[in-house]
């Protein structure tokens, strides 16, 4: 929205009162606002919201809070193992994703893919991997591998391949041609050109993105247990279903701590990289 740009007609007529937008711009702004409001109104009315639920929601929330307090600290030792498992799922899943993301990125980058068909395959892999949420991947892999951390690792890897490959593919497309030509000039094969001419150029992007995705994955892994894919999530889910709210608070605090620490670690590594 381009505010503060006076319409040429208005400037010529020297208006006496200052206006932020030209008549056309302000009309457009109002139109967009109206469309958005209509869309929101349609959505809310179509969702069939039972407003009565809102009446006592604050009481319910207060009730929940009092049931959670005080946290059952004796439960803390029992969540340490699942917490470590959560981090393992995120880390191993990310590591597997890195291995697969490099060939997918070369496939999906216009300048390194073999032909239009391979490019389409690469793009389809990117879109498919990225469009399905980690938890939904978890649902799929639990059906395949059965419940447990293996399904979680596969889910994290499946979602992260597309994420990493998309950014690496963009870096490959922006790679410096000069270095590629230099390697080609010494008679290197295509594989060698990719390995020596392009891969080192995209390495900073690959490492930075990997570290960034890892901390997202720690957060994602904390809920994979909801669909049976391992990690701390299963304990959260079980505690909630048993109405063991003091236990729930412990699990929440543990997740909070792990996610905040992993985010800080990731931010620190990335700031040192750049």
């Amino acid at each position: 929205m381009s505010d503060a740009v006076a319409a040429p007609g208005a400037a010529a007529r020297h208006p006496r009162v200052w206006r932020r937008r030209s008549r056309r711009a302000s009309l457009l702004a109002w139109l967009w606002t109206a469309i958005l409001a209509a869309a929101a109104a349609w959505s809310v009315s179509a969702l069939d919201i039972e407003w009565a639920f809102f009446a006592d929601a604050h009481e319910q929330a207060a009730d929940l809070a009092t049931r959670m307090w005080p946290p059952r600290w004796s439960y803390l030792p029992r969540v340490v193992g699942p917490l470590i498992e959560t981090i393992h799922i995120a880390t191993v899943g990310t590591a597997i994703a890195v291995v697969f993301s490099v060939p997918v990125a070369f496939l999906a980058a216009r300048n390194t893919t073999a032909n239009g068909f391979t490019w389409a395959i690469g793009r389809a892999l990117l879109v498919g991997s990225r469009s399905v949420n980690t938890v939904i991947w978890g649902l799929i892999f639990v059906a395949i591998f059965g419940p447990g951390p293996v399904a979680g690792i596969a889910a994290v890897a499946a979602r992260s391949v597309g994420f990493l490959a998309k950014l690496v593919a963009e870096a490959i497309e922006e790679a410096d041609r000069g270095q590629v030509e230099a390697i080609e000039a010494v008679g290197a094969s295509t594989a060698q050109v990719y390995l020596v001419g392009i891969l080192p150029q995209v390495m900073p992007v690959l490492i930075g993105t990997t570290v960034y995705r890892w901390d997202i994955n720690v957060r994602e892994s904390s809920v994979l247990g909801f669909v049976g894919a391992g990690g701390i999530g299963i304990h959260l889910y079980a505690s909630i279903n048993q109405f063991a709210w003091q236990q729930v608070l412990i699990v929440l605090l543990a997740i909070l701590a792990v996610v905040i620490v992993s985010e800080a670690v990731s931010a620190r590594i990335r700031s040192r990289l750049s």
């Binding site: 959505s43 969702l47 395949i144 059965g146 010494v186 390995l195 997740i255 996610v259």
Partner: protein, 282 residues
């Protein structure tokens, strides 16, 4: 083209050469500064992998048994069953509606929160409280938030709507607060010099500066909400995720495939649309 000498081609598997004796062959530079450090990093990675695999107690026989099962599931997914169109369309529509309403509700909630979380506007205690709230809210996964709203509001789209609205408010206020903090002070001072109060400063000096970027972030969040709306149904918070979860638990894989393809199409469309709008906004 020069015929390549064998040494210069053999760049990937260069023989080890003493570093001080002017190496005759080129060696790929080490990843982490020096060769010693690179070796250490590789060793650490291998050790970690070993530890995690032992700790996770993976049953490899079961993993291997998974591959034929994957093929079986894939076979049963083809062809995808789009015949229960009503269930599919209703679920998708509900997801989109939750995303739309939640984005706008989140935006409305985000404005006061962002003002409170902007270091250059809010008093210190308010600023710290708002930032703390944002950090806490960002840390918890949407599915965790959803499960609480399901407990409070029962199963269905209301819980999903509130979850997404909450997550959007947190995200949007964080981005907006950063934009407000980066506002150019000259314009603020100019407006203040005309005798404007706090509200007028916000409306005339800050809003025009942050609005273009805020619109972009809002569109981005709408796209993100469409993605998230497909998953929070797993814990009963409405939308297509609930339908998907049910179809999986009934081993209805051909219907699952139809839902998955629809989700991929919806998310891809949302992303394309959001990219297009944001490019036009710039």
């Amino acid at each position: 083209v020069h015929p390549a000498s064998p040494e210069s081609v053999d760049v990937t598997t260069a023989a080890p050469v003493a570093v001080d004796a002017h190496p005759a062959t080129w060696r790929r530079p080490a990843l982490f500064g020096s060769r010693g450090r690179q070796r250490l990093a590789v060793l650490a990675a291998v050790l970690y992998l070993a530890w995690s695999l032992i700790d996770l107690d993976i049953d490899f026989a079961r993993v291997l048994a998974g591959f034929p099962r994957a093929v079986d599931i894939l076979v049963r997914m083809v062809p995808p069953d789009f015949s229960r169109r009503e269930l599919l369309v209703n679920g998708m529509l509900e997801s989109v509606q939750m995303a739309l309403a939640a984005t706008l509700a989140g935006a409305l909630l985000a404005v006061p929160l962002a003002l409170a979380a902007a270091g250059n506007l809010a008093p210190r205690p308010v600023y710290l409280a708002a930032r703390g709230f944002i950090v806490l809210g960002r840390t918890l996964h949407e599915v965790i938030i959803a499960i609480f709203f399901v407990k409070l509001f029962g199963f269905g789209a209301v819980a999903g709507l509130l979850t997404l609205a909450f997550a959007s408010a947190i995200f949007l206020s964080k981005m907006l607060a950063e934009d407000i903090e980066n506002v150019r002070l000259g314009q603020v001072e100019a407006v203040r010099a005309t005798g404007a109060g706090f509200g007028q400063v916000v409306v005339y000096a800050i809003v025009p500066q942050v609005l273009p970027r805020a619109m972009g972030v809002l569109i981005y969040r709408l796209d993100a909400n469409v993605r998230h709306s497909t998953v929070i149904g797993i814990v009963g918070a409405g939308g297509i995720g609930q339908t998907l979860s049910a179809s999986f638990s009934r081993y209805d894989y051909d219907f699952s495939a139809a839902i998955l393809l629809s989700i991929i199409a919806l998310v891809a469309l949302g992303e394309w649309l959001s990219d297009w709008v944001r490019r036009r906004l710039r």
